[in-house]
Amino acid sequence: MAKVLVVTSGKGGVGKTTTTAALGAALAQSGQSVVVVDFDVGLRNLDLVMGAERRVVFDLINVVQGVAKLPQALIRDKRLENLWLLPASQTRDKDALTDDGVGRVIAELSARFDWILCDSPAGIERGATLAMRYADEAVIVTNPEVSSVRDSDRIIGMLDSKTVRAEKGERVKKHILITRYDPARAARGEMLTIDDILEILATPLLGIIPESQDVLKASNVGSPVTLNNADSAPARAYVDAARRLMGEELAMVVPVERKGFMNRLLGRRAA
Protein backbone atom coordinates (compact mmCIF):
# COMPACT_ATOMS: atom_id res chain seq x y z
CA MET A 1 0.00 0.00 0.00
CA ALA A 2 1.26 3.42 -0.94
CA LYS A 3 1.52 6.42 1.29
CA VAL A 4 -0.64 9.20 -0.14
CA LEU A 5 0.94 12.60 0.44
CA VAL A 6 -0.66 15.88 -0.61
CA VAL A 7 1.49 18.94 -1.25
CA THR A 8 -0.78 21.87 -0.52
CA SER A 9 -0.77 25.50 0.67
CA GLY A 10 -3.92 27.45 -0.08
CA LYS A 11 -1.88 30.32 -1.48
CA GLY A 12 -0.49 30.19 -4.99
CA GLY A 13 3.13 30.68 -5.99
CA VAL A 14 4.68 29.42 -2.76
CA GLY A 15 6.36 26.39 -4.36
CA LYS A 16 3.95 23.45 -4.33
CA THR A 17 4.90 22.18 -7.78
CA THR A 18 8.62 22.72 -7.20
CA THR A 19 8.26 20.84 -3.91
CA THR A 20 6.28 17.96 -5.42
CA ALA A 21 8.90 17.47 -8.13
CA ALA A 22 11.86 17.82 -5.75
CA LEU A 23 10.48 15.52 -3.03
CA GLY A 24 9.28 13.00 -5.62
CA ALA A 25 12.73 12.84 -7.20
CA ALA A 26 14.47 12.66 -3.82
CA LEU A 27 12.24 9.78 -2.67
CA ALA A 28 12.76 7.98 -5.97
CA GLN A 29 16.53 8.43 -5.73
CA SER A 30 16.52 6.68 -2.40
CA GLY A 31 14.93 3.65 -4.03
CA GLN A 32 11.22 4.23 -3.42
CA SER A 33 8.76 3.89 -6.28
CA VAL A 34 7.01 7.22 -6.64
CA VAL A 35 4.24 8.73 -8.71
CA VAL A 36 3.62 12.49 -8.74
CA VAL A 37 0.04 13.42 -9.65
CA ASP A 38 -0.92 16.86 -10.92
CA PHE A 39 -4.34 17.95 -9.60
CA ASP A 40 -4.18 21.41 -11.12
CA VAL A 41 -6.68 20.69 -13.90
CA GLY A 42 -6.69 23.46 -16.49
CA LEU A 43 -3.42 24.97 -15.25
CA ARG A 44 -1.09 22.01 -15.21
CA ASN A 45 2.59 22.69 -14.64
CA LEU A 46 4.08 19.66 -12.96
CA ASP A 47 4.77 18.19 -16.43
CA LEU A 48 6.77 21.30 -17.31
CA VAL A 49 8.77 21.39 -14.09
CA MET A 50 9.52 17.65 -14.52
CA GLY A 51 10.55 18.20 -18.16
CA ALA A 52 7.88 15.83 -19.51
CA GLU A 53 5.57 18.36 -21.19
CA ARG A 54 6.09 16.93 -24.67
CA ARG A 55 5.36 13.38 -23.62
CA VAL A 56 1.83 13.92 -22.27
CA VAL A 57 -0.75 11.88 -24.18
CA PHE A 58 -3.46 10.99 -21.67
CA ASP A 59 -4.13 12.62 -18.32
CA LEU A 60 -5.82 12.26 -14.93
CA ILE A 61 -9.26 13.27 -16.26
CA ASN A 62 -9.03 10.69 -19.06
CA VAL A 63 -8.32 8.01 -16.46
CA VAL A 64 -11.05 9.24 -14.08
CA GLN A 65 -13.56 9.15 -16.92
CA GLY A 66 -12.41 5.77 -18.22
CA VAL A 67 -11.23 7.13 -21.59
CA ALA A 68 -7.71 5.84 -20.95
CA LYS A 69 -6.25 3.12 -18.75
CA LEU A 70 -3.87 4.19 -15.99
CA PRO A 71 -0.72 2.67 -17.60
CA GLN A 72 -1.44 4.66 -20.78
CA ALA A 73 -1.47 7.94 -18.86
CA LEU A 74 1.56 7.33 -16.61
CA ILE A 75 4.80 8.90 -17.87
CA ARG A 76 8.10 7.43 -16.71
CA ASP A 77 10.82 9.92 -15.79
CA LYS A 78 13.80 9.87 -18.17
CA ARG A 79 16.36 10.19 -15.37
CA LEU A 80 14.91 7.95 -12.65
CA GLU A 81 13.25 4.71 -13.64
CA ASN A 82 11.13 4.46 -10.48
CA LEU A 83 9.70 7.99 -10.78
CA TRP A 84 6.43 8.46 -12.67
CA LEU A 85 4.14 11.35 -13.52
CA LEU A 86 0.36 11.40 -13.90
CA PRO A 87 -0.34 14.74 -15.57
CA ALA A 88 -3.44 16.91 -15.22
CA SER A 89 -5.60 17.85 -18.16
CA GLN A 90 -4.89 21.25 -19.65
CA THR A 91 -8.15 21.61 -21.56
CA ARG A 92 -10.79 20.53 -19.04
CA ASP A 93 -11.85 22.25 -15.85
CA LYS A 94 -11.79 21.02 -12.28
CA ASP A 95 -15.46 19.99 -12.31
CA ALA A 96 -14.42 17.00 -14.42
CA LEU A 97 -12.84 15.55 -11.28
CA THR A 98 -15.17 13.49 -9.10
CA ASP A 99 -14.64 12.19 -5.59
CA ASP A 100 -15.32 8.58 -6.65
CA GLY A 101 -13.15 8.88 -9.74
CA VAL A 102 -10.20 10.25 -7.80
CA GLY A 103 -10.69 7.55 -5.17
CA ARG A 104 -10.52 4.85 -7.84
CA VAL A 105 -7.33 6.28 -9.39
CA ILE A 106 -5.65 6.60 -5.97
CA ALA A 107 -6.59 3.00 -5.13
CA GLU A 108 -5.16 1.76 -8.43
CA LEU A 109 -1.94 3.77 -8.00
CA SER A 110 -1.69 2.54 -4.42
CA ALA A 111 -1.17 -1.03 -5.61
CA ARG A 112 1.78 -0.03 -7.82
CA PHE A 113 3.74 2.57 -5.87
CA ASP A 114 5.30 3.26 -2.46
CA TRP A 115 4.46 6.96 -2.61
CA ILE A 116 1.69 8.94 -4.29
CA LEU A 117 2.47 12.68 -4.22
CA CYS A 118 -0.56 14.83 -5.05
CA ASP A 119 0.33 18.31 -6.28
CA SER A 120 -2.62 20.46 -5.17
CA PRO A 121 -3.80 23.54 -7.03
CA ALA A 122 -3.95 26.82 -5.10
CA GLY A 123 -7.22 27.81 -3.49
CA ILE A 124 -9.75 25.85 -1.47
CA GLU A 125 -12.05 24.77 -4.29
CA ARG A 126 -12.74 21.36 -5.78
CA GLY A 127 -9.25 20.66 -7.16
CA ALA A 128 -7.62 21.43 -3.82
CA THR A 129 -10.16 19.51 -1.73
CA LEU A 130 -9.91 16.44 -4.00
CA ALA A 131 -6.09 16.58 -3.96
CA MET A 132 -6.17 16.27 -0.15
CA ARG A 133 -9.23 14.03 0.04
CA TYR A 134 -7.43 10.65 0.25
CA ALA A 135 -4.21 11.85 1.87
CA ASP A 136 -2.44 10.02 4.69
CA GLU A 137 0.06 12.83 5.09
CA ALA A 138 0.25 16.46 4.06
CA VAL A 139 3.10 18.82 3.32
CA ILE A 140 1.89 22.38 3.80
CA VAL A 141 4.19 24.65 1.83
CA THR A 142 4.50 28.02 3.57
CA ASN A 143 6.46 31.18 2.79
CA PRO A 144 7.60 33.34 5.72
CA GLU A 145 5.03 35.96 4.87
CA VAL A 146 1.67 36.86 6.48
CA SER A 147 -0.72 35.91 3.66
CA SER A 148 0.92 32.53 3.16
CA VAL A 149 0.81 31.70 6.88
CA ARG A 150 -2.85 32.70 7.08
CA ASP A 151 -3.75 30.48 4.11
CA SER A 152 -1.75 27.59 5.57
CA ASP A 153 -3.79 27.88 8.75
CA ARG A 154 -6.98 27.61 6.71
CA ILE A 155 -5.67 24.55 4.86
CA ILE A 156 -4.71 22.88 8.16
CA GLY A 157 -8.33 23.31 9.25
CA MET A 158 -9.51 21.63 6.05
CA LEU A 159 -7.06 18.74 6.44
CA ASP A 160 -8.54 18.17 9.90
CA SER A 161 -12.14 18.17 8.69
CA LYS A 162 -12.60 17.46 4.98
CA THR A 163 -10.36 14.46 4.33
CA VAL A 164 -11.46 10.82 4.36
CA ARG A 165 -9.17 10.23 7.33
CA ALA A 166 -10.71 13.10 9.31
CA GLU A 167 -14.21 11.81 8.59
CA LYS A 168 -13.21 8.38 9.91
CA GLY A 169 -11.98 10.01 13.13
CA GLU A 170 -8.34 9.47 12.15
CA ARG A 171 -5.85 12.18 11.39
CA VAL A 172 -3.78 13.26 8.44
CA LYS A 173 -0.13 13.59 9.49
CA LYS A 174 0.76 17.20 8.74
CA HIS A 175 4.15 18.76 8.08
CA ILE A 176 5.12 22.37 7.47
CA LEU A 177 7.70 22.99 4.77
CA ILE A 178 9.01 26.54 4.79
CA THR A 179 10.20 27.69 1.39
CA ARG A 180 11.94 30.84 0.14
CA TYR A 181 13.47 31.36 3.55
CA ASP A 182 16.19 33.96 3.94
CA PRO A 183 18.01 33.43 7.27
CA ALA A 184 19.78 36.79 7.05
CA ARG A 185 16.54 38.74 6.64
CA ALA A 186 14.89 36.74 9.43
CA ALA A 187 17.84 37.53 11.68
CA ARG A 188 17.43 41.23 10.91
CA GLY A 189 13.79 41.04 11.94
CA GLU A 190 12.52 41.66 8.41
CA MET A 191 11.00 38.23 7.93
CA LEU A 192 8.93 35.94 10.14
CA THR A 193 11.26 33.44 11.80
CA ILE A 194 10.85 29.66 11.74
CA ASP A 195 9.84 29.77 15.41
CA ASP A 196 7.18 32.41 14.69
CA ILE A 197 5.62 30.32 11.92
CA LEU A 198 5.69 27.06 13.83
CA GLU A 199 4.24 28.63 16.94
CA ILE A 200 1.39 30.22 14.98
CA LEU A 201 0.57 27.09 12.95
CA ALA A 202 1.25 24.60 15.77
CA THR A 203 2.38 21.97 13.27
CA PRO A 204 5.75 20.16 13.10
CA LEU A 205 8.43 21.24 10.66
CA LEU A 206 9.53 19.01 7.77
CA GLY A 207 12.24 21.26 6.38
CA ILE A 208 13.46 24.72 5.50
CA ILE A 209 14.17 25.47 1.85
CA PRO A 210 16.33 28.56 1.48
CA GLU A 211 15.57 31.19 -1.14
CA SER A 212 17.81 30.29 -4.07
CA GLN A 213 18.36 30.97 -7.75
CA ASP A 214 18.84 27.24 -8.26
CA VAL A 215 15.07 26.70 -8.03
CA LEU A 216 14.39 28.88 -11.07
CA LYS A 217 17.37 27.42 -12.95
CA ALA A 218 16.01 23.91 -12.41
CA SER A 219 12.49 24.76 -13.59
CA ASN A 220 13.94 26.56 -16.63
CA VAL A 221 15.45 23.30 -17.83
CA GLY A 222 12.63 21.05 -16.66
CA SER A 223 14.42 19.17 -13.92
CA PRO A 224 13.53 18.70 -10.24
CA VAL A 225 15.98 20.83 -8.26
CA THR A 226 17.20 17.74 -6.40
CA LEU A 227 18.38 16.25 -9.71
CA ASN A 228 19.47 19.39 -11.52
CA ASN A 229 22.05 20.50 -8.98
CA ALA A 230 22.27 18.01 -6.14
CA ASP A 231 24.88 20.09 -4.29
CA SER A 232 22.77 23.23 -4.23
CA ALA A 233 21.32 24.45 -0.95
CA PRO A 234 17.65 23.87 -1.88
CA ALA A 235 18.45 20.38 -3.22
CA ARG A 236 20.12 19.38 0.03
CA ALA A 237 17.21 20.80 2.02
CA TYR A 238 14.71 18.83 -0.08
CA VAL A 239 16.73 15.61 0.25
CA ASP A 240 16.71 16.06 4.03
CA ALA A 241 12.96 16.67 3.97
CA ALA A 242 12.42 13.50 1.93
CA ARG A 243 14.53 11.50 4.40
CA ARG A 244 12.40 12.85 7.25
CA LEU A 245 9.29 11.72 5.38
CA MET A 246 10.79 8.23 5.34
CA GLY A 247 11.14 8.38 9.11
CA GLU A 248 14.75 9.48 9.60
CA GLU A 249 15.50 11.97 12.33
CA LEU A 250 17.88 14.64 11.13
CA ALA A 251 19.05 17.85 12.75
CA MET A 252 17.20 20.83 11.27
CA VAL A 253 19.67 23.10 9.52
CA VAL A 254 19.18 25.71 6.83
CA PRO A 255 21.63 24.73 4.08
CA VAL A 256 23.57 27.67 2.70
CA GLU A 257 25.21 28.24 -0.66
CA ARG A 258 28.87 28.44 0.30
CA LYS A 259 30.81 25.24 -0.35
CA GLY A 260 33.20 25.28 2.60
CA PHE A 261 30.36 25.79 4.98
CA MET A 262 28.50 22.92 3.35
CA ASN A 263 31.08 20.40 4.45
CA ARG A 264 30.77 21.61 7.99
CA LEU A 265 27.01 21.19 7.77
CA LEU A 266 27.35 17.70 6.35
CA GLY A 267 29.77 16.82 9.10
CA ARG A 268 27.39 18.06 11.73
CA ARG A 269 24.47 16.20 10.21
CA ALA A 270 26.39 12.94 10.17
CA ALA A 271 26.98 13.18 13.91
Binding site: R150, R154, G157, E167, R188, G189, E190, M191, L192, D196
Partner: protein
Protein backbone atom coordinates in the same frame (compact mmCIF):
# COMPACT_ATOMS: atom_id res chain seq x y z
CA UNK B 1 18.03 30.37 19.14
CA UNK B 2 21.02 32.15 17.68
CA UNK B 3 18.61 33.90 15.32
CA UNK B 4 16.85 35.42 18.31
CA UNK B 5 20.19 36.55 19.71
CA UNK B 6 21.09 38.15 16.41
CA UNK B 7 17.74 39.87 16.39
CA UNK B 8 18.45 41.34 19.81
CA UNK B 9 21.61 42.92 18.51
CA UNK B 10 20.11 43.57 15.12
CA UNK B 11 18.60 46.99 15.69
CA UNK B 12 15.42 48.90 15.19
CA UNK B 13 13.67 48.46 11.89
CA UNK B 14 12.03 45.09 12.56
CA UNK B 15 8.69 44.48 10.90
CA UNK B 16 8.56 40.73 11.59
CA UNK B 17 7.25 41.10 15.17
CA UNK B 18 4.41 43.22 13.79
CA UNK B 19 3.62 40.51 11.24
CA UNK B 20 3.63 37.90 13.94
CA UNK B 21 1.30 39.84 16.22
CA UNK B 22 -1.15 40.70 13.42
CA UNK B 23 -1.28 37.06 12.38
CA UNK B 24 -1.87 35.80 15.89
CA UNK B 25 -4.80 38.15 16.42
CA UNK B 26 -6.29 37.49 12.98
CA UNK B 27 -6.03 33.71 13.21
CA UNK B 28 -7.48 33.58 16.72
CA UNK B 29 -10.51 35.35 15.27
CA UNK B 30 -10.76 33.24 12.09
CA UNK B 31 -10.37 29.95 13.94
CA UNK B 32 -13.22 31.03 16.21
CA UNK B 33 -15.50 31.73 13.26
CA UNK B 34 -14.80 28.42 11.59
CA UNK B 35 -13.76 26.22 14.43
CA UNK B 36 -14.32 25.39 18.04
CA UNK B 37 -12.70 27.34 20.88
CA UNK B 38 -14.70 30.57 20.71
CA UNK B 39 -17.92 28.73 19.95
CA UNK B 40 -17.67 26.85 23.24
CA UNK B 41 -16.87 29.99 25.20
CA UNK B 42 -19.90 31.75 23.69
CA UNK B 43 -22.18 28.80 24.38
CA UNK B 44 -20.98 28.60 27.95
CA UNK B 45 -21.61 32.29 28.57
CA UNK B 46 -25.10 32.24 27.09
CA UNK B 47 -26.14 29.05 28.88
CA UNK B 48 -24.86 30.51 32.13
CA UNK B 49 -26.83 33.71 31.53
CA UNK B 50 -30.11 31.87 30.80
CA UNK B 51 -29.90 29.42 33.69
CA UNK B 52 -28.84 31.97 36.27
CA UNK B 53 -31.94 34.01 35.52
CA UNK B 54 -33.77 31.29 37.47
CA UNK B 55 -31.13 29.66 39.66
CA UNK B 56 -28.15 31.06 41.47
CA UNK B 57 -25.11 29.32 40.02
CA UNK B 58 -21.43 29.15 40.61
CA UNK B 59 -20.06 30.17 37.17
CA UNK B 60 -17.09 27.86 37.77
CA UNK B 61 -19.45 24.87 37.89
CA UNK B 62 -20.79 25.24 34.37
CA UNK B 63 -18.91 22.95 32.01
CA UNK B 64 -19.55 22.85 28.28
CA UNK B 65 -17.77 20.17 26.30
CA UNK B 66 -17.91 19.29 22.61
CA UNK B 67 -16.91 15.80 21.53
CA UNK B 68 -16.33 15.17 17.87
CA UNK B 69 -17.50 11.77 16.66
CA UNK B 70 -17.36 10.02 13.31
CA UNK B 71 -20.79 11.05 12.07
CA UNK B 72 -22.22 13.11 14.93
CA UNK B 73 -20.71 15.27 17.60
CA UNK B 74 -22.11 15.54 21.11
CA UNK B 75 -22.44 18.71 23.12
CA UNK B 76 -22.22 17.97 26.81
CA UNK B 77 -23.44 20.59 29.27
CA UNK B 78 -22.71 19.91 32.90
CA UNK B 79 -24.21 22.40 35.38
CA UNK B 80 -23.83 21.91 39.08
CA UNK B 81 -26.83 23.34 40.96
CA UNK B 82 -26.14 24.21 44.59
CA UNK B 83 -28.26 22.60 47.36
CA UNK B 84 -29.91 25.83 48.37
CA UNK B 85 -31.53 25.74 44.93
CA UNK B 86 -35.12 26.10 46.35
CA UNK B 87 -34.15 29.07 48.47
CA UNK B 88 -32.54 30.90 45.60
CA UNK B 89 -35.48 30.06 43.35
CA UNK B 90 -37.89 31.51 45.88
CA UNK B 91 -35.71 34.57 46.21
CA UNK B 92 -35.65 35.15 42.51
CA UNK B 93 -39.45 34.72 42.30
CA UNK B 94 -39.88 37.29 45.03
CA UNK B 95 -37.61 39.58 43.14
CA UNK B 96 -39.64 39.13 39.97
CA UNK B 97 -42.93 39.68 41.81
CA UNK B 98 -41.60 42.80 43.47
Amino acid sequence: MNLKLLRLFGGRDTSAPVARERLQILLAHERGLLGQPDLLATLREEILAVVSRHVTLDPEKVIVRLERGKTVSTLEVDIEVPNDFEKSKAASQRRMAG
